[in-house]
């Protein structure tokens, strides 16, 4: 269930890690593609809240090059369908996410991201 949408809103929150703590970097991932219902309204509503560059870079890293480097002004159907696929249909089932700054590793298991920190790591 770690989809790229989820990935796009998670940042490292370890103690004293406040800059360059996003996006977390996927490692050793197992992907699964699962179809989801296409909902253009949802995509349009959420688009302004996305970190576009992080999304595109991550998609490319996972082998999907369907998104333009700049967010387009015209939201045509083809673009929305690609966005839908990238955000909601690519599931990272296993693997981990590493903070680009402090290198803390957040594991993913059975599709659920483990963002818990030990007591001494909490800011």
């Amino acid at each position: 269930m770690v989809r790229l949408l989820t990935h796009n809103i998670l940042a490292c929150h370890a103690k004293d890690c406040n800059t360059n703590n996003f996006p977390l970097e996927f490692k050793d991932v197992q992907l699964e593609i699962r179809e989801a219902e296409f909902n253009p309204e949802f995509l349009k509503g959420f688009l302004p809240k996305l970190e576009w560059k992080a999304l595109v870079d991550t998609a490319i890293q996972l082998g999907d090059t369907s998104l333009p480097l700049e967010q387009p002004e015209m939201l045509d159907d083809e673009f929305l369908k690609n966005l839908h696929h990238v955000l909601l249909e690519i599931h990272v089932e296993e693997g981990s996410m590493t903070c680009p700054n402090c290198k803390h590793v957040y594991p993913i298991s059975n599709g659920i991201p483990n963002m818990l920190l030990a007591e001494h790591e909490i800011g």
Binding site: L10, N39, L116, L117
Partner: protein
């Protein structure tokens, strides 16, 4: 009438590890149902439930607000995360589940972006030790053990909610009488300019439970 979510896929074994929907859960559902029109008018983009347990509450609000909202849930208990996801599937609500404490991993990306926040916290007064153990063992004990005044976990969220709520944001909190509502309201008002209002209350056995709704000051009406 919004139907109570279908939780028939969860079994007694799940409820050994995960909080089973109870009076507090249903009071929160009733408050959300009473606020259904108001919530729809908000036209929310993001809804976050902290401590989602079985996933019953988010599945319910998913029935009110429909599929064009991003539903996020966090829980420290990994079993709860699994149940939340499954309950979403069962009720056709697409829930993004994160195994984490409160809203910590969302704090930086979703600052001032969340329109609806829900929290039915571990609110039972216990010793501080018991609450600490419950928090670190991440099991079902963390469902109720709330430390002194039952506010140990809730207080941490109260101090981060103002940063998360969008300008029109609504925050619904389950509170037990012993948690001292007037002190909570004063704290939120003075420190964060969030205005709290009791929207529903009920006696359930020994517990006197309240639902408090917080909005930003001067926002008594929805635009």
């Amino acid at each position: 009438m919004i139907p109570t979510p279908d939780t028939s896929h969860l079994t007694a074994r799940d409820y050994e590890q995960v909080y089973e929907p109870a009076e507090d859960t249903f009071l929160l559902l009733d408050a959300l149902e009473a606020d259904a029109d108001r919530l729809k008018e908000l036209n929310p983009t993001i809804c976050l439930e902290v401590g989602s347990g079985s996933g019953c509450v988010t599945s319910f609000i998913g029935g009110i607000l429909g599929p064009s909202v991003l539903y996020l849930c966090t829980d420290i208990n990994p079993h709860a995360c699994r149940c939340t996801y499954l309950t979403g599937v069962q009720n056709k609500v697409n829930i993004h589940v994160i195994n984490g404490s409160l809203a910590a991993p969302l704090q930086s990306r979703l600052s001032h972006k969340i329109d609806v926040i829900l929290f039915n916290p571990p609110y039972v007064p216990t010793t501080e030790d018991e609450a600490n153990v419950a928090q670190s063992s991440r099991n079902i004990g963390g469902s109720w053990s709330g430390g002194s005044d039952g506010m140990q976990v809730t207080n941490m969220l109260l101090d981060s909610v103002a940063n998360l709520l969008s300008p029109k944001g609504h925050f619904y909190l389950v509170v037990l009488k012993q948690n001292n509502i007037s002190r909570i309201l004063q704290h939120m008002d003075e420190l964060y300019h969030l205005e709290g209002e009791i929207v529903l209350q009920r006696r359930a056995g020994r517990e006197h439970l309240f639902i408090v709704r917080f909005i930003r000051q001067g926002r008594s009406t929805v635009e």
